[in-house]
């Protein structure tokens, strides 16, 4: 390749001309349009469901209910990534407002809507639970009468059920001796932090096109996880997985929303019954109730020595997983051990629960439990620092993990850069213990820090196939998903540099499970790291074949042959040799097919949570400066310095975009985003009522610090890494500006104003209170 490494997206032209294909653009002959009737009740028995008039509407091909599914012997009507607790369409009961009850396929959307308008449903309302306390109260109504049934799932999943309760799953971690640790501590801090349920808001909502022939299912889906979707659909249709084909075009954003099966089983069974292809494309308000981020309540009891060393942390975590488990049983593990943070703590105890309630299912969301955990521990770090009279930067530096120290799971952390990252952002923002806040009229400014750690799913498996063609070009076949992170570009770069051919000669296919090999999931910041490693191993396989065949063609022994400068040559006569295409042609190989599988090892003990949680650690730090209007309570993010550790940078501009994008993703989580429910009914399912970051909300100074370690050469995931520190950095900056500690996200003007009033009242009552340092 030579010269400057490629930076950007190889499909940029298709992206600016509007030609890049998304699932919504797939159209098949005779394709029907699907629409869903959704539950209006949070928890109810379906007393009567009459679809007879809907079936008579002109242009309607199929009307399907949960009861119909039960009658179809060829269909198993439940699905889910861990538990098979979710009916394709409600069966007997509904468990949240928005649950699909009836599916219609019709000639167009108007006819489908007309049919839905003809459906009559009578519900018998049942008592419901919405929040964590409701669900855990003695005698609380149960969201699921029977314990959920687990099916084939991921290797890292640990299950601790609590039958007869709304606890969907529990994760436990026991490191050291928590009682001793807390007994030895000079000071103990107990604080509870809350993160609300959120929406991922991919601009492209879920879409699925299904084409089902007897014994063969094909879907085009907005999925981050083609092979698990194939497995779930094979289970639903009672078919060998080989008879299910999942094709995934480019995604218009995902952020975890498209990780696990949601609408695809509906589209597929509807196509079966309608006997024609079906397209199901969700509206925005439907997307809001399809999958969400877990609301989380985390209580941290942290024991600290007077000198600022953290010696013990006890975490009690409750995650609201909604009506169906989705991936909640795994998320509580990450969100649980995640509460220990990047700190060297000898005694750690975690109980983390996924709780069933009657709100929409919660699943994967960029950051995967770590956002909730980091909001808690990084906010508490500043609470503790202030009480101990330590500078928040110094207090963190004292406790951040260094090379070889052990994480909460007992594993030593290698390739450890937290202190460098925190120092980078502190310098960038101009951190100075004495000038953390300034005031001008009613406007105050403050700065805040945070530093976070995130795992990548371990153990995990990715495979890739490459085909070297007879003129030297290369096709890469992988089931990794392009969702804007630049997967195709990153994999093409890795393949091209490994083989030593120009980038233009590499084409990366989109996932098609009939052709592309297994990849566990395009999530957990693992696509460049793990999917990319599989691509490199597949290229190595081709390289070995080139050596073997080249040696034969050059009449040399294999160890006398090398690959260099795009040729196979003998070491003795490097100026001669064969181009790769020549080797393929002269050996009459047709093409050379290479295969690579990358596996990581690990796993945690189910009782102690000790073991290996992550093949490597994703590390980030942030420093924010905010402005708060004391008259209105409004917070503006002015400046932001973020740092992350990608190890080796594969594509510079995409590395920056991940960090900048995470700031955009995090600003609105810190300040605006919250799904508001009233008796289980979502109140703000529009982008006017549910605010996400726009150009105006971005900080005017945003610096992406990229810490590299090219000598070591490891690739660390960056997709999620820099998101978890955003919210706490902003929250800490707001505190330093105003003295108001908001513990429940988002940091709304109302909460800031209430905090200011409470502080004034406290000052009047007890003027010398040390906690209320006056704003200068």
């Amino acid at each position: 390749m030579g010269g400057t490494p490629f930076s950007g997206l190889i499909d940029a032209r298709e992206r600016v001309t509007g030609k890049i294909p998304y699932t919504i653009d797939i159209e098949l002959p005779n394709m029907a349009t699907a629409k869903l009737l959704r539950s209006t009740m949070p928890h109810a028995r379906i007393r009567r469901l009459d679809v007879s008039r809907a079936r008579l509407v002109r242009g309607v091909f199929a009307v399907l209910t949960g009861a119909d599914l039960l009658e179809r012997k060829e269909v198993f009507p439940y699905f889910g990534p861990v538990f098979r607790d979710r009916p394709i369409l409600a069966i007997g009961k509904v468990r949240y407002v928005g649950e699909p009850v009836v599916a219609v396929a019709a000639v167009d959307a108007d006819a489908a809507q007309e049919a839905l308008d003809q459906v009559e449903v009578d519900y018998e309302e049942l008592p419901a639970v919405f929040g964590i306390d409701d669900a855990l109260a003695p005698g609380a109504p149960l969201v699921h009468d029977e314990p959920p049934k687990a099916g084939h799932t991921f290797a890292d999943i640990i299950l601790h059920g609590h039958p007869g309760t709304n606890i969907c799953n529990q994760f436990k971690l026991r490191k050291g001796d928590i009682e001793r640790g807390l007994a030895e501590a000079d000071e103990i801090f107990e604080d509870t932090f809350y993160s609300p349920p959120l929406q991922q808001v991919p601009l492209e909502t879920h879409c699925c096109v299904a084409d089902v022939e007897p014994g063969h299912v094909t879907v085009w889906a907005t999925s981050q996880i083609p092979h698990m979707l194939r497995g779930n659909l094979a289970e639903v249709f009672k078919l060998p997985t080989s008879r299910v084909r999942v094709i995934v075009p480019t995604l218009g954003g995902a952020y975890g929303a498209k990780c696990y099966p949601a609408i695809e089983p509906i589209a597929a069974v509807l196509a079966l019954v309608a006997r024609r292809p079906v397209k199901l494309h969700l509206t925005r308000d439907e997307e809001f109730v399809t999958v969400t981020k877990h609301g989380g309540r985390i209580t941290l009891t942290t024991g600290v020595m007077k000198d600022g060393r953290i010696v013990a942390r006890k975490s009690l975590c409750h995650f609201n997983t909604g009506a169906y488990a989705d991936i909640g049983p795994r998320l509580i593990k990450n969100g649980g051990y995640g509460t220990a943070g990047p700190h060297n703590i000898p005694h750690v105890w975690v109980d983390s629960y996924a709780i069933y309630t009657n709100i929409p299912p919660a699943g994967a969301f960029r950051g995967y439990g770590i956002n909730q955990a980091a909001w808690a521990y990084e906010s508490q770090m500043d609470v503790i620092a202030e009480r101990l009279g330590l500078d928040p930067y110094e207090f963190r530096m004292k406790n951040l993990l260094t090379e070889g120290q052990t994480f909460a799971t007992g594993e030593p952390v290698e390739d450890c850069h937290f202190r460098e990252l925190l120092t980078m952002v502190a310098k960038g923002i101009g951190w100075d213990a004495k000038t953390r806040r300034t005031r001008k009229g009613s406007i105050v400014r403050g700065k805040g820090l945070s530093c976070t750690i995130k795992s990548t799913v371990t153990p995990s498996t990715s495979s890739a196939t490459v085909k070297l063609n007879d003129e030297g070009s290369l096709n890469v076949l992988t089931s990794s998903v392009e969702m804007g992170q630049g997967q195709k570009t990153a994999h093409a770069i890795l393949a091209a540099e490994r083989l030593g051919i120009p980038l233009e000669k590499v084409v990366v296919t989109s996932p098609d499970t009939d052709a592309t090999p297994y990849d566990q999931q395009s999530s957990s910041s693992r696509t460049t790291y793990a999917g990319g490693a599989a691509v490199q191993l597949a290229v190595d396989d081709v390289r070995a074949q080139l050596i073997r065949l080249g040696a034969g063609l050059l009449a040399a022994s294999e160890d006398a042959v090398e690959i260099a400068e795009g040729r196979v040559r003998t070491k003795a006569a490097p100026h001669r040799g064969l181009e790769f295409g020549e080797v393929v042609r002269k050996s009459r190989s047709g093409d050379l097919v290479g295969r690579g599988t990358f596996q990581t090892k690990g796993g945690l003990d189910p009782e102690t949570g000790q073991g290996v949680a992550s093949a490597h650690w994703n590390q980030a730090a942030a420093a924010a400066e905010v402005e708060v209007d004391l008259e209105t309570g409004k917070v503006r993010l002015l400046r932001y310095h973020g740092a992350s550790y990608p190890g080796r940078v594969v594509n510079r501009v995409l590395t920056e975009l991940q960090l900048e994008g995470n700031v955009g993703f995090g600003v609105s989580q810190a300040l605006f985003e919250e799904m508001v429910f009233d008796n289980g009914q979502l109140q703000n399912a529009t982008l006017a009522d549910y605010m996400v970051t726009s150009t105006l909300d971005m900080p005017r100074e945003l610096v992406a610090h990229i810490l590299e370690n090219p000598e070591r050469g490891d690739i660390h995931g960056i997709g999620e890494t820099s998101l978890p520190p955003v919210m706490a950095a902003i929250g800490n900056a707001v505190y330093h500006a105003t003295g108001v500690r908001v513990k429940d996200l988002p940091i709304t003007p109302e909460k800031v104003l209430r905090g200011l009033r409470d502080r004034e009242a406290a000052d009047r009552a007890e003027p010398k209170t040390p906690a209320a340092e006056p704003v200068r």
Binding site: V16, G484, V653, E660, T695, L702
Partner: protein, 178 residues
């Protein structure tokens, strides 16, 4: 878009509840069929297969389906198809030159990688075209304000603004806008 005084003439609906209308899109005239409640967004996609026009909210809150109507940015999800008759509609498909050369604005987006998933990109491009037509020399703050109705959930805003300000310079330095 149509003032009350120039009421749309009564039209006979066919057995399918549709009627014929003429849309002028990207310089060409197109006869299409639609029901009276169908939006410009639906018709551009379903009849003309202009897939660069994308639904994301369908209620005018995200900017993803932005097209230009007589040079003004509109959310095509909020415009009923018959109301677009007589207007010059420009979609992202109309930005390229006859030989496929990119508009300087598109080229600036490519050069700055001003997108990730790029679902929002056509909307940003067309809104920026309107910005340049409305304000000869926009400041970065003016660009921020103008683009605030276009959402990019991937958060590529830093690079988008870089591309917009760079494109402004390129156009002023003689690159021909389309």
């Amino acid at each position: 878009m149509t003032p009350a005084s120039e009421a749309v003439p009564m039209r006979r609906l066919d057995a399918d509840g549709k009627f014929e209308l003429t849309l002028r899109v990207n310089g060409g005239e197109h006869r299409v069929r639609a029901r009276p409640h169908h939006t410009l967004l639906e018709v551009l996609r379903s009849e003309l297969k202009l897939f660069g026009v994308r639904e994301a909210c369908a209620v005018g809150q995200c900017g993803a389906c932005t097209v230009l109507a007589d040079g003004k940015p509109v959310s095509s999800c909020l415009v009923l198809a018959p109301m677009a008759e007589g207007k010059d509609i420009l979609t992202v498909e109309g930005l390229e030159g006859p030989d496929g050369e990119l508009d300087p604005l598109q080229q600036a987006f490519v050069d700055h990688t001003a997108f990730q998933c790029s679902y929002c990109t056509p909307g940003f491009l067309l809104t920026t075209k309107a910005l340049f037509a409305e304000i000869a020399d926009p400041s970065e703050e003016e660009a921020r304000e103008y683009l605030a109705g276009n959402l990019c959930r991937c958060g590529s805003y830093v690079k988008i603004l870089d591309a917009v300000m760079d494109a402004k310079k390129r156009v002023r330095n003689g690159a021909a806008p389309r």
